[in-house]
Amino acid sequence: MLNTLNVVRLLPELILLVTALVVIFVDLYARRRTALWLLPGVSIAGLVLAFVAAFAQWGAQEVVAGTLAADSFAFYFKLVAAVTVVLVILASVRYMRERTRFLGEFYAFLLVATLAVFVAVSATDLITVYLGLETLSIVSYVLTGFLRDDKRSNEAAIKYFLYGAVASAIMLYGFSLLYGLTGTTDLAEIARRLQAGDVLANLEWVAWPAVILAAVGFAFKASLVPFHQWAPDAYEGAPTPVTMFLSTVSKATGFAVMARVFLTAMPSLGEYWMALLYGLAILTMTVGNLIALRQTSVKRMLAYSSIAHAGFILMGLVAVTAPAGGHPFNGLDGVLMYVVAYAFTNAGAFAVVAAVEDGTGDATLDNFAGLIARAPFLAAAMLIFLLSLAGVPPLAGFAAKLFVFAPVVRQEYYALAVVALVNAVVAAGYYLKVVKQMFFVEVPERPAFAVARGMRWALWLMIIGVFGVGIFMNWFAFMSVRSAAGMLGL
């Protein structure tokens, strides 16, 4: 069996694993001053290598060892994850240095979390799906509670852990029913068995429990309402770089897995899960936005806003169709577009929050007052990210919204489109509140503060990303259409 294993396909994962171990050893043997730059340096180098390894295989289409897919869909998410984690690491250099002694472990955990993402997004077997998601979750609990002497970090981790453990148990029960009905854990095989005669007769009774129970697990990872309660707390309490990771990469993984499981294993149950996701999408964006409106902490506001955005991403999945005649708006490519746009934008917004926390000690709305005078670069960056979040052209957020709205309209889900539109307007309202605070509230007595070098680089990269995705929309659309087609088996 082993000789059929194509190790080249696993190269990105292997590189990450080796890098994580190297980081631990560097931490063990390097002097503290060297370690401060060497640890993030090694981690970023590993991620870049993994990125290259994944990019080189773009366009492949095969199954590795029976449980992992090496297809464009997986590689797309791997690329996004690698880039985002590089940004997270850049943003965390100073933030973490001042808060914990265990830097080597921190970077190693980030790398292992990325490894888990890589496994989860390419999983084609219920076993790897579960294991990938759960590895990501468990490592995320540790990352969230990394500042163990900080009550808020610990509390965030515990809430995350308790919700996560329950959600994964529920998801597993759903998986076990699917396994019982079809007698296999392979996603493609499940799809085949679900259409067999003896299974069809039972389908109506197992479909709902299996879909709902499995969806709970994915919805938890993607922080969809009503499985979102952990998210604001975890996002607020976690070290802000970790929040960057959770709100972008971890969430994107939830969507990737959800898309793959639903589309490859249960295409015949489409009406069930699409109806479910339809409801979840409306609920998620509305509840997220309404609560975000009355937040006083920017970090928490962004947390709720990121829940609301999950609702938007879900729209793409609801409207998934086979791309007729190479038509770009098939829904799934909207999800992919949104994920990459959102990764830059939201990671950027949280990075600014981290920088403000570093400079002023906290991230309430009040701390942002008059930011333009104290840290003009941060204020400008935040403005760009907020505009992108609101969906203003020519920024990334606009491209993303375009690609999820279009298929929804094409499918004639007008109610969903209207709700989403109203929500987008509401969201713009509270983004502007922050803008107003930064630019038009003057607080003369507050001192200016500098931004750490790594953070500045990260912010520049993310600004470039936000503009890039918005301006070179066509290229990203091409990429996402291709990878969506790769997974839809076209």
């Binding site: 579960y130 759960e134 453990a165 076990s176 029913l177």
Partner: protein, 102 residues
């Protein structure tokens, strides 16, 4: 032979009992115990399905082994968090931790 549905019934009851424990307990450790019951229920399901529908294909066994492994890792991390929580506040009741609200 015992019918398959009997096993499924036991698993379902165990699952629901675990869920009840999760929902009704205040103590974090007690909640974790509920989760463990739920995972056990899942494993009974997996093994029962393996035995009754596919005894010659070990996928179900592999799945159960993986669930066991993950459960151990999860419990280790969770309990570590609870111990840290206890150090910080002398309590592990989840409804008493509410610094983060809104």
């Amino acid at each position: 032979m015992v019918p398959l549905s009997w096993y499924l019934a036991v698993a379902a009851v165990l699952f629901v009992l675990g869920l009840f424990g999760v929902l009704s307990r205040r103590n974090a450790v007690a909640i974790l115990m509920g989760v463990e019951l739920m995972l056990n229920a899942v494993n009974i399901n997996l093994l029962a399905f393996w035995r009754y529908t596919q005894p010659e294909n070990v996928a179900g066994l592999v799945f159960a082994v993986i669930v066991l492994t993950v459960a151990a890792a999860e419990a280790a991390v969770g309990l570590a968090l609870f111990i840290a929580l206890y150090r910080l506040r002398e309590s592990v009741n989840v409804d008493e931790i509410q610094l983060l609200k809104g």
